[in-house]
């Protein structure tokens, strides 16, 4: 089975990035003869020109925008996000890094670790890349010196320890001559590691969301006929199985997965990143922007989030301004309540600032007009990320990585932050004997009858008229009176997997 590895590179004009990519494409036969002929002069191929894209870039001799390159070896397919080193460095680097599993950082052996090497590594780690390859290039110009290689490795490692990344992998190379790029070089007999291509072919692709809790943002409802009502979307993380009890957010209603439909027939299970259509056993009001999640592994639900943002627009970030925020499949209005600090990307220090300018990075407290259901970016790159859009110009002005739930103002009861982050949904289930749920019932009488019955059984339960978000986070069963709703019994809740079935000691069957 051939895998897919997405990587990003960044570098400036002179550090040999284009030559390195050209070398990988050339040596892995990702470049064609006629393309090579068009960049040859006097029989010499200028590999760096393989990555030229736009006329303005050829005219000015610079790279303007992120470009995507493709090559494959018998072992793996690769997508390279090739990002420029100078112009719009941060914006382009963040864009390229957002989909990458691995980043290659190029260091000129003559110059050692420069501020831009540190910037690159920081942005890669900020965007969730856990694997760094440090290619120390132009080794031919320092006489293939092992001492120089070790010196740069020590410098870079000292900096990398401040970032949340695995130990970087260091390789001495010459992109121009091909040393250690697709084969080990005789010029560096002291280097015992893998050459670059072999490392890329064998490194585990870091972003595997299958182990994470299941998240299924609903893209659209498919209703081709009266017998089919399916929720189309891409599994963002985890695995969903037929028969799983899932909760629909934000409503909190639960049901079981009846079918997982695809063009190629129904599936028993679907893992991230499959695009499928899910059908549920019960008729629940679900629409685009909602999310299906496991009852016991729900994401955070809040209108307040703390996030890191990369500012990507010439018009600076201003606190108190309202933007549009797109998170998974929902777009909501969002206000930046506060800029907490700006990150100095040279020193990683936090600085006080009034706003963020183009290509600056900072921490913000955001408030959205409808609740977001999210995980931290560190836990989930899909449900932890968002973009900000300027509602006047429609431009994408920022990229956001959610750190966690924001602080709530003390006056609002339903925004109460329960200091119980470490109590897991599973522990709550074990304690209360049920998961969180919103239960609609037709009348007040039935509401209070159901509340009493569940309460006697030890459930954390209540009848509410407002929004139930915070109570759901607490793991409660929330009863709402809704005209036209079906009556609900405790046995119904057991069947739906919300309330734990109590064994009857005499019959062995379920019952209260």
């Amino acid at each position: 089975m051939t895998g897919l590895l997405r990587l990003s590179t960044a570098g400036s004009v002179d550090d040999g990035k284009s030559t390195l990519i050209g070398r990988l494409l050339y040596d892995s036969k990702g470049a064609y003869e006629d393309q090579l002929a068009s960049i040859s002069k006097d029989g010499e191929i200028d590999l760096s020109r393989l990555t030229d894209g736009l006329r303005a870039e050829r005219e000015q001799g610079i790279t303007i925008d992120v470009a995507y390159r493709y090559f494959a070896t018998p072992r793996r397919k690769f997508i390279i996000a090739d990002t420029p080193g100078h112009v719009q460095y941060t914006r382009n680097m963040a864009t390229g890094a957002s989909t990458a599993d691995l980043a290659i950082i190029l260091i000129d052996a003559r110059h050692g670790v420069l501020p831009q090497s540190r910037r690159h590594a920081f942005i890669a780690s900020l965007l969730g890349i856990r694997r760094l390859v440090v290619a120390i290039n132009k080794m031919d110009l320092v006489g293939y010196s092992e001492a120089r290689f070790d010196e740069i490795r020590r410098d870079f490692s000292a900096f990398a320890r401040q970032l949340h990344v695995a130990s970087p992998y260091f390789i001495p190379i010459s992109a121009l001559n091909g040393d250690n790029v697709v084969s080990l070089s005789g010029n560096t007999p002291w280097f015992q590691g893998q050459h670059l291509l072999e490392h890329l072919e064998t490194v585990p692709s870091a972003v595997v969301h299958e182990e994470a809790p299941m998240r299924f943002p609903v893209q659209m409802v498919l209703r081709p006929n009266l017998d089919f009502r399916g929720y189309a979307g891409q599994v963002a993380s985890g695995v969903v199985h037929v028969g799983d009890t899932v909760m629909a957010l934000p409503a909190g209603r639960t049901s079981r997965v009846k079918r997982i439909a695809t063009f190629d027939g129904d599936l028993e299970q679907a893992a991230a990143p499959s695009s499928v259509t899910i059908l549920l056993e019960d008729e629940i009001d679900i629409s685009r922007g909602d999310m299906l999640v496991p009852v016991l592994q729900a994401p955070h639900i809040s209108r307040r989030v703390d996030a890191m943002v990369v500012w990507m627009n010439a018009r600076p970030l201003e606190a108190e301004r309202t933007y549009l925020l797109k998170h998974t499949t929902q777009t909501v209005r969002a206000t930046v309540n506060r800029l907490k600090y700006r990150v100095n990307i040279e020193t990683l220090e936090h600085e006080q600032a009034a706003g963020l300018e183009l290509n600056e990075i900072g921490a913000v407290a955001l408030e959205t007009h409808r609740p977001l259901f999210f995980d931290s970016y560190a836990d989930n790159r899909i449900t932890g990320s968002f973009i900000l859009i300027d509602p006047a110009t429609n431009e994408t002005i920022a990229a956001g990585m959610i750190k966690g739930r924001g602080d709530a103002p003390p006056a609002e009861l339903r925004e109460l932050v329960f200091k119980s982050e470490r109590v897991t949904p599973a522990e709550r289930f074990s304690r209360f004997g049920h998961g969180p749920a919103v239960v609609d019932v037709p009348t007040e009488d039935t509401a209070y009858a159901l509340e009493r019955e569940l309460f006697e059984r030890g459930c954390l339960v209540g009848v509410v008229t407002g929004e139930p978000d915070a109570l759901l986070e607490l793991g409660a069963i929330v009863i709402c009176v809704k005209a036209g709703a079906e009556s609900v019994s405790v046995a119904d809740l057991e069947r739906r997997g919300i309330v734990r079935v109590v064994q009857d000691p005499f019959t062995g069957g379920g019952g209260i």
């Binding site: 895998g3 064609y32 303005a56 189309a232 979307g233 990320s385």
Partner: protein
Amino acid sequence: MNLLTHLRALEAESLHIIREVVAEFSNPVMLYSIGKDSSVLVRLAQKAFHPGPIPFPLLHIDTTYKFGEMIEFRDRFVKEIGAKLIVHTNRQAIADGASPFKLGTSNCCGLLKTRALLDALAEGGYDAAFGGARRDEEKSRAKERIYSFRDSLGQWDPKNQRPELWNIFNGRIHKGENIRVFPLSNWTELDVWQYIEAENIPIVPLYYAKEREMLVRGNQLLPVEHGLPLAPGERVQPVMSRMRSLGCTYCTGAIRSEADTVVKIIDEMKLVRRSERENRVIDHDQEGSMELKKREGYF
């Protein structure tokens, strides 16, 4: 766990893109050029909305210089899958005698493809148009977004593109503006062939090698259709050949090949050392041709 193969990962990404567009735009359309990439694109559209029908029409810009076999295939294929097809031709230009022989390839393409496309999009009031372009095809395409924003004149501004992160697409536009969407952005030519094989997707027989009447001009093989004028001394001869990409007859050269099945084409692909669009005359009529055409509204 069952890690998806790279083809399934690419497919899942494309379905996500197609569904996002249908969810967020009011009047999408899918450009259908009859080629292999279009065949894949249509299959992905079927998958995205199964068991429902494809919820948008297919639009073919017919220059009238296409291969006869392409038009036959188009009509049969569209009927079989039950899709709605709109065919648009720049009738005025044809009436004025537009042809590659008379105008040169660049002007001909401007009138019969770019102008026709912009007119068709305006006539239909489409706010999003899917295309089958891939980033590995051509150097300016390597820089293009999956959602490629176009102003009210259909123009692309490569220096001012919206940043595109993760799988979050910004589909917000003002009235009169539109986007081009490229669900196959991250596919390569080899991926497309492997998918065609895996999914048994029908393609125009011109992709399969057989002995065809060709004009051999230098190292080009030109199909003889639509009254291609011969230079003195040139003659037509049978050549075992196939098309690697499909366009208008005059602008699409064939390649010498024995590959008469998809499996053989894939084997050929793995060995081939020439780029896919090398035989497309229009890409090479001036430096940065594709970028210029794209700026004007070409796909």
